[in-house]
Amino acid sequence: METAPKPGRDVPPKKDKLQTKRKKPRRYWEEETVPTRDGASPGPPCNKKNRELRPQRRKNAHILKKSRISKKPQVPKKPREWKNPESQRSLSGAQDPFPGPAPVSVEVVQKFCRIDKSRKLPRSKAKTRSRLEVAEAEEEETSIKAARSELLLAEEPGFLEGEDGEDTAKICQADIVEAVDIASAAKHFDLNLRQFGPYRLNYSRTGRHLAFGGRRGHVAALDWVTKKLMCEINVMEAVRDIRFLHSEALLAVAQNRWLHIYDNQGIELHCIRRCDRVTRLEFLPFHFLLATASETGFLTYLDVSVGKIVAALNARAGRLDVMSQNPYNAVIHLGHSNGTVSLWSPAMKEPLAKILCHRGGVRAVAVDSTGTYMATSGLDHQLKIFDLRGTYQPLSTRTLPHGAGHLAFSQRGLLVAGMGDVVNIWAGQGKASPPSLEQPYLTHRLSGPVHGLQFCPFEDVLGVGHSGGITSMLVPGAGEPNFDGLESNPYRSRKQRQEWEVKALLEKVPAELICLDPRALAKVDVISLEQGKKERIERLGYDPEAKSPFQPKPKQKGRSSTASLVKRKRKVMDEEHRDKVRQSLQQQQQQQQQQQQHKEVKAKSTGARPSALDRFVH
């Protein structure tokens, strides 16, 4: 009977002298078993979400000239969850070199955690605590699962990196096109359409289709990857803006008088007369809302799934021609001529917030895909990036020689600004960081002034509409490399699209749920709760949840005399009283401190003023 090699023998010999147990000498074959098993690891399990992997897409869009950045090694911090050497022994006696579930990095897990554990909860009963524990355990489990499935996001974003000292902004499109593979190079093209004026353009949500409309009535839609034209018409009217609805089959065109909807054959389906003199269009894909900003100063929300106007809001700020949506919470940002940007939701008649951004009028607004940063440019030639996480303060500011007329964010947080006939692109440190305006990442000059800008989703491509036509330029690192095959699949078939459409309609979010915090549904309506409590107390005549006054428990063996009971009661009462007094004292102290600080600040502000005598003080 042969003995199979035992697991766990490769422990280095201990230095301890006292060790009397004899160890079996290590054998040379014990090491060998490991590498032979190495290759036989099973392939990753197929996740439903990411079933359709892209066939070799952006791999080659990485610019060749530049060295690759070494990826950060994942830190395996999670220990193995369970060890059971008995169960892991396989038939042949070989041992699994990587027992237990695969380690997950803590940072990635943290990304999926949604419970805010910083807030301390009031003391809770055992039953409540068990519920909370269950919730927390569930969260941890799901986030670990999500983090583990990140492994399936195999594609990496493209990038452009100068050799040391080289400015990436000087690399022109021709260089990039030369360096990339044919498939990627084909994504750079120009459409020379000088006849019908400056063009607005829009990519569909999957990034596969492109629609553009010239000011002189030229409207066309095409599958820009294969360059297959879907339709091309002239609406014989000025076209202000153009936008795909939820799928590439429907097309909204803001014409001179009214809003029209065409299908992908170019057939006019609707003429919406309630939206007149529309200047800008935005489509909110999860709510199926088409937001229109008009010359008359109205912001109108049209539900395209039922054809109803959900809300028509008067912005009271004159002509509206600067609009963008926050993809994070579906709030519409409008820029006004008095330098403010107002945030709108169909549920409220007034703006949710108003931010004073510029001294002159606002020319362009863009919000990044995480909803964290807003870029604005104004007539004062400044480009500002605001933090939208509650503070609304500018993070960085630059004055541009001519000011930016158009702004757009890419999926990975690149910012593009169109200034005259030049397009400047700034990049940040990563996806969730604001673009640093120090150095432009790329620049490009076009044959005419820019009129429309959009990054193509899931592609490293920027579409620019200008007076000379359309330019599709390559911007490495712009698009999200991994797409969700069930959500927006660039390669979907007609059948898949139809199925997605039904599903999306079923999951349509009601328009009234749009608010600044998209997670508001996970909160309790505190005001109603308090109101209900108050009403209940009124109805009952007492507070059923109030803490009952302390009643000393009778003690056994004759220690429970009335006097001692009263004494104990008194003690507790005194303690409570003392607590109250202590709290009020603390509050007073805090107030005093605050006041003092105020005074100090004031004194500083007045005292810091330099006088001519200051020089003699030192």
Partner: protein, 770 residues
């Protein structure tokens, strides 16, 4: 027995007696009392009672004194006698006759016996029975508590509860019983057999078997001995080291240290001869050690030892000497190194000196070129920043005395020239050194490549050019500063608060400009110069007019103004200049910009006004309940007194602070969004007492959009699953692991059910955590 009966009858008698006494109650009590008398008598009594209802008969009845008519052998009636019958009375007539002796005896015995206690009330008996029964059943049922709790807390219950044990046979067993049947299988087996591949357990090929037996016993023994020896050696060494570490003698350590130092020196000298490059490195290390020592407070005469010696020094010669020694060492250490053997040190030294003299961009550029040491770089940049801030106070008084600044400006270029020259020299030396020592760091090797002679030349050219420009710009600035004071002298009153407003952007600008210069010098030398100059000229008019405008504003406004304007000077030249960048057009542009800037002022005012209005509107309103004319004269033009108004004014409670309280440039709508609120939870579910607790449980989304498929399925599993086609039997003790008949474990539970439940809870928790 007879005696008993007798007693009973006596009792009945007494009852009857009472009955007569209370005729009003007799109806009720008569029916209630279950008598042992016959119905006839009762009937009689009833009749009597009824007849006694009219007033005449009542007295009569009470007055009767003769014996009752109905005397029978079964019944002794004491009606009318008014006193109770005692046993002794009965016994008296018996005394005389001897024939009744036995009866007497018996009666006596009866007398001596105590009366039986009254049986308990029926209700009480029932209550006691119930209590006992409850306790019993509670004890029996308490064993189910943990089971119930477990089932309640279970994530999922699958009914029927009993599970069939899945028969998991080990794969070896399965394999051993398995035979190749299909031709394909047979073929494969044949192949395996041919190649002598193992089929059964353990799966080892003959080769592997051979290798298992490969190591002979002697070999293994030798190997073991070797290992043992190594281990022993190691432990000896460790023990020795430990012992030496414990030695407290200072002298010993001193000697050891000295010996080490000597040894090191010797080695170093040898190394210098053999391998100069390595020696260089060694020297660097030594230098570092020296630096460390310099940094430390070891020889500063501030230690405990030094203080004690200082006291002793007066009397003790040795102590004095020791102190002197230390002082000398301190001096030696703190002394600046002017001349050093190696070029590297020289560089460091000069750099230090430089920083002390004129911290300027030039340094930074140099550092950038130097590259590899981030620490030095940071310190350098911070130095420059500090220097900038130091420069600031110098610049502040400039409006008053701008001649001084001018003279400074004149002086500075001279210094800069010097610096540039020095820098050049340094580069040359650096190059030489790098040629000397090839095994320097890779970054440095890059440097050598950089500094080919051509590049040096071009650099020199660029530097010279930059120098000129600096000169020009400085002059420009000076001149612009010269013009401003004239403007300002016209309105001297608010001048005091001006310099801050005026100078702040100025300083930022200079810093920025310096940085820019540095970058350009370093990176893109072929960038057109005019752009830069244009910017400078652009900035100066941009900022100048702002300042006098600003000072008129209120303090609060200045805050907002700052927000909108302070960063405006941070102009960035784009790498590719935009469309038509002609000089005159740019000027026009600037003029337009200034106009726009002016126009923006009332934008701010409007916004602040709007915000104030919004704040006012959102404030809760006070309720005024005064009735004019109530309790005083009324009429047109008469107002209720202030006192009264104050008395009847109900102040609204102050709401929570506004979210935009500290954000001057934002108005956040505080109105409640009722449409969203309609979708929110408004009643706390049972176990939760605070909404934070409940919120925590609903934070994680359960939809498939946010979760992986597995997680989604797990989160949405139904709480109870019933298998179709199965009978769901009620739970039995055997199912849960209790033996139904056993008393022992039941009793355990009964004795302290609480502890058991808590323990069980803990177990449950553990299992849930796992």
């Amino acid at each position: 027995m007879t005696a008993n009966r007798l007693a009973e009858s006596l009792l009945a008698l007494s009852q009857q007696d009472e009955l007569v006494d209370l005729p009003k109650d007799c109806l009720l009590s008569g029916s209630e009392d279950e008598g042992d008398n016959d119905g006839e008598r009762e009937h009689q009594k009833l009749l009597e009672a009824i007849s006694s209802l009219d007033g005449k008969n009542r007295r009569k009845l009470a007055e009767r004194s003769e014996a009752s008519l109905k005397v029978s052998e079964f019944n002794v009636s004491s009606e009318g006698s008014g006193e109770k019958l005692v046993l002794a009375d009965l016994l008296e007539p018996v005394k005389t006759s001897s024939s009744l002796a036995t009866v007497k005896k018996q009666l006596n015995r009866v007398k001596s016996k105590k009366t039986v206690e009254l049986p308990l009330n029926k209700e009480e008996i029932e209550r006691i029975h119930r209590e006992v029964a409850f306790n019993k059943t509670a004890q029996v049922l308490s064993k189910w508590d943990p089971v119930v709790l477990k089932n309640r807390q279970a994530e999922q219950l699958v009914f029927p509860l009993e599970k069939e044990e899945p028969a998991i046979a080990p794969i070896e067993h399965v394999l051993s019983g398995w035979k190749a049947r299909t031709p394909l299988e047979q073929e494969i087996f044949n192949l395996l057999h041919k190649n002598k591949q193992p089929v059964a357990d353990p799966l080892l090929t003959p080769v592997e078997k051979a290798s298992l037996q490969a190591m002979s016993l002697e070999e293994a023994k030798m190997r073991r001995a070797e290992l043992q020896r190594a281990r022993a050696l190691q432990s000896y060494y460790e023990a020795k080291a430990r012992r030496e570490k414990k030695i407290k003698s200072k002298k010993y350590h001193k000697v050891v240290k000295k010996g080490k130092a000597k040894k090191a020196l010797k080695e170093f000298e040898q190394l210098q001869k053999v391998n100069p490059a390595a020696a260089l490195e060694e020297l660097e290390k030594i230098e570092k050690a020296r630096m460390m020592e310099r940094m430390s407070l070891k020889h500063q005469n501030s230690g405990k030892w030094a203080k004690s010696k200082a006291i002793m020094a007066k009397y003790d010669l040795e102590a004095r000497q020791a102190m002197q020694e230390q002082l000398a060492k301190n001096k030696e250490l703190t002394q600046k190194l002017q001349v050093a053997s190696e070029s590297e040190e020289e560089e460091g030294g000069t750099e230090e000196v430089e920083e002390l003299l004129v911290p300027d961009v030039v340094n930074e550029v140099q550092m950038n070129a130097d590259g590899p040491n981030p620490w030095m770089l940071r310190s350098c940049t911070s130095d420059t920043k500090e220097a900038a801030t130091q420069e600031d106070p110098e610049q502040l008084p400039e409006p008053e005395a701008h001649e001084v600044s001018e003279s400074e400006g004149e002086e500075r270029p001279v210094a800069e020239e010097e610096i540039l020259l020095r820098e050049f020299e340094e580069r040359r030396s650096l190059r030489k050194r790098s040629e000397l020592s090839q095994d320097a760091e890779p970054a440095r090797s890059q440097e050598t490549k950089d500094s080919s002679s051509q590049e040096v030349l071009s650099e020199l050219r660029v530097l010279a050019q930059k120098l000129k420009e600096n000169d020009q710009s400085r002059k420009q600035k000076a001149s612009s500063k010269g013009t401003i004071p004239q403007v300002q002298r016209e309105e001297p009153a608010p001048e005091e608060e001006e310099p801050l407003l005026l100078q702040r952007p100025e300083r930022v600008q200079t810093l920025e400009e310096l940085e820019e210069l540095g970058k350009e010098c370093f990176q893109n030398k072929e960038l057109p110069r005019p752009v830069l100059e244009g910017q400078q000229s652009e900035r100066t008019p941009n900022n100048r007019p702002d300042a006098p405008k600003e000072k008129k504003k209120k303090e609060q406004m200045i805050d907002l103004q700052n927000l909108l304007t302070t960063q405006s000077p941070s102009v960035k030249s784009l790498a590719v200049p935009t469309i038509e960048e002609l000089e005159d057009e740019e000027e026009r542009n600037q003029r337009q910009m200034i106009k726009e800037a002016f126009a923006g002022d009332d934008v701010i005012r409007d916004f602040l006004k709007e915000k104030r209005e919004a704040v006012e509107a959102s404030k809760p309103k006070d309720v005024d309940l005064t009735l004019p004319g109530w309790g005083e004269w009324g009429g047109v033009g008469l107002k209720p007194s202030a006192k009264k108004r104050r008395r009847f004014l109900i102040k609204a409670p102050e709401g929570p602070p506004r979210k935009d309280k500290n954000l001057t440039n934002v108005i956040i709508n505080e109105k409640r969004n009722i449409h969203t609120a309609a979708h929110q939870v408004r009643v706390l579910p049972y176990p939760f007492t605070h909404h934070w607790q409940f919120e925590r449980t609903i934070q994680t989304p359960i939809g498939s959009t946010w979760n992986t498929q597995r997680a989604f399925q797990k989160l949405t599993t139904p709480k109870v699953v019933t298998k179709p086609g199965h009978i769901i039997n009620p739970i039995k003790a055997e199912d849960v692991g209790y033996r139904s008949s056993s008393r022992s474990d039941l009793s355990v539970i009964q004795r302290n059910p609480k502890r058991i439940t808590t323990r069980h809870k803990k177990q449950l928790k553990k299992s849930s955590v796992d």
